[in-house]
Symmetry: C2
Subunit: 385 residues, 2 copies
């Protein structure tokens, strides 16, 4: 009785692992969690305080479907601040998380049979957003040797005549790859030449290291950018994100939003008004530095014990590491690692078809000492086999 | 470049009216708002306080996709309290509003080409939830003379061989109709005999007058019930609802939820833990009484000046009234009424194909004196034409 499209939707494989990890913890085991894509930090206090104030003032009714005008203006102003970009606040659509944004976009842009180009590896839900609306996933195979950067040759190779949408992410999950400005420009031009809609997932923007990363909005008014308050702003549970869309299409997104979810959570929207304040940004920049330090500790430690990471990841809070040196099947190995060593990491199967069994993802969402202990445990486990 | 399915999605027509009403207000006009389907009450203080406490405690991370276990248990316990029903908490799925629940259900249950039976009049988004997943709307024409009750003859008439799902609501929007227990039983049996999945939208349950209204869950474990914290609990902006589904299908909804929205807003979930407390319920019952008094004031006043309401509505906070005595086209008439008399009501076009032009919906979400003033203004406007 369950629809076919729904039977094809796979669970996040990491969820089974997470459930097992919680069981082990309940039985008294010490588990190091490096599997979940969520900052370990609580939301910064100024944002929490703004949420509390909104609740005290009784801000509990619906907002407009496109979001609070003040928040849309604040997001637009943020682009001025970070990228000296003048974005009309009308183009900003507040969404209940970026999941809803991506899902809404597929409804809005993809006819049944249309091709949607997605990177492999990539965010696991994207392929489901495509198939749920009857689209066809056109995978773009990225290369570890190239630091999982995306190039025009790969796009040409993945392209098929039904291609309508190209969805990319920078910084990317699970690789942490930040697209270089040069690559991004080439991709924008390629998409324009092919009349393909380009969506850029920038939900990890702000969490980038060593390199400058700027919004793709700087390159074109025709692309769609998806962003979120979850990652850089540590607001996961509030379910709040945004899109910037071409001005002429706002009305369609408005209608879809009215139907699909009415509006983003009101207390979250008021709380997020404090997300761009100096106080908040000072906290967030310290957290960014912390993530960078963790990466700088974890990456060499992983390489020391034999993981393959061809190019240092420059963003997000992930390291996508080749584990085939340790086991042929990373899925089984992750389960063994959890049970035997008490370390939870995510198998490649959640992110990839091509590299599923040879890779694992580490989320450095715990402190440095625990990261190093995790590496020690993995090392000991491997030596004991 | 916008997908066909999306171009078919109509806006809520009332939104244009609402925009115009706000313009008029901004220019200094006094507008009486009877158009929006939202309680005028702020969320009860115990729920707000629970939300504030959760924020103070830093409850800002993701929850499980199915929702906080404590909240699922609290919802299950509520069925014990109101209906002496023992519902396994595993069957309770917490959702970001009932919109997301209905949308998710259509993804889960409807294959392209499947028929979904919907009442006309009914909630405007339902037809879009169906067409967005490629389903076919099979309208069931309700009769004002029968108080917009649904009967088996109407179901037989509307049925087609591709029918897979029947979605009904009680109390219903826009009619306020509460299905009698007898009718509900017949509908459950009819759906079972036809092997059709029955979804019962109970988001206005609790807001019913004169009659007892009980959950359809009492009649079958195979149906799906959708509910919400928005209406009876006055929590619209928090975006929180729930479903009760057959136990064997929970895993599918879990996967879809993981992909479509990850989880419902965390602060909202913690706040809702206070929704079933004695303090909160005492406030909510007073509000229910207030709605009943408003209905009892508004209904005779509308009939006095010539609106047609064959049967008193027994639930929700709506009166769906025949306006053909005043104008052939209720859409144009609502706009004229707003401009000339400063009264905002919703034209039938949002809810119906068959009765679109002959009906309007009044939401009694403002106090009694304003309700009576609205009726006076309509009366004066009609006499002046």
């Amino acid at each position: 009785m369950i629809a076919k499209r729904c039977q094809q939707v796979q669970p996040f494989y990491v969820m089974d692992l997470l459930a097992k990890a919680k069981q082990l913890q309940a039985s008294g085991r010490d588990i190091i969690h490096l599997e979940v894509g969520e900052p370990d930090f609580t939301t910064p206090q100024p944002i929490i305080d703004a949420g509390i104030s909104a609740l005290k003032e009784g801000k509990t009714h619906y907002t407009a479907a496109l979001g609070l005008l003040e928040l849309r203006q604040a997001v637009a102003a943020r682009y001025q601040q970070t990228d000296q970009l003048s974005i009309n606040a009308k183009r900003v659509v507040i969404t209940p998380g970026s999941s809803s944004a991506l899902h809404l976009l597929m409804h809005a842009l993809v006819n049944p049979g249309d091709g949607v180009m997605l990177t492999d590896p990539g965010y696991p839900c994207n392929k489901h957003f495509v198939t749920l609306v009857g689209g066809e996933v056109l995978p773009i195979n990225l290369s570890a040797a190239d630091g999982f950067q995306l190039n025009v040759e790969q796009l040409d190779e993945a392209w098929k005549p039904n291609a309508k949408v190209l969805l990319i992410a920078s910084p990317a999950n699970p690789t942490g790859t930040v697209l270089s400005q040069d690559r991004l420009k080439q991709i924008v031009l390629w998409a324009k030449a092919k009349s393909i809609r380009l969506i850029v997932d920038e939900i990890y923007l702000g969490l980038h290291y060593d390199v400058d990363a700027v919004t793709a909005l700087a390159l074109s008014d025709e692309i769609i950018v998806v962003n979120s308050f979850s990652k850089y702003f540590s607001m996961t549970g509030w379910r709040l994100g945004w899109m910037v869309v071409p001005e002429g299409e706002v009305e369609y997104f408005d209608r879809l939003a009215q139907n699909l979810y009415l509006c983003a959570p009101t207390p979250s929207q008021y709380a997020a008004l404090a997300a761009f304040s100096d106080d908040t940004l000072a906290i967030l920049e310290l957290r960014r530095d912390t993530f960078q330090r963790r990466r700088d500790v974890l990456l060499p430690a992983l390489k020391d014990i034999g993981f393959g990471v061809a190019t240092p990841p420059q963003g997000a809070f992930y390291i996508y590491a080749e584990s085939s040196q340790f086991a042929a099947d990373s899925f089984k190995w992750c389960h063994a690692l959890l049970e035997q060593a008490g370390v939870a990491i995510t198998p490649g199967r959640d992110f990839s078809s091509q590299s599923a069994e040879r890779y694992v993802r580490f989320a450095y969402t715990t402190d440095e000492s625990r990261l190093l202990e995790a590496v020690d445990r993995i090392h000991s486990y491997q030596r004991s086999r």
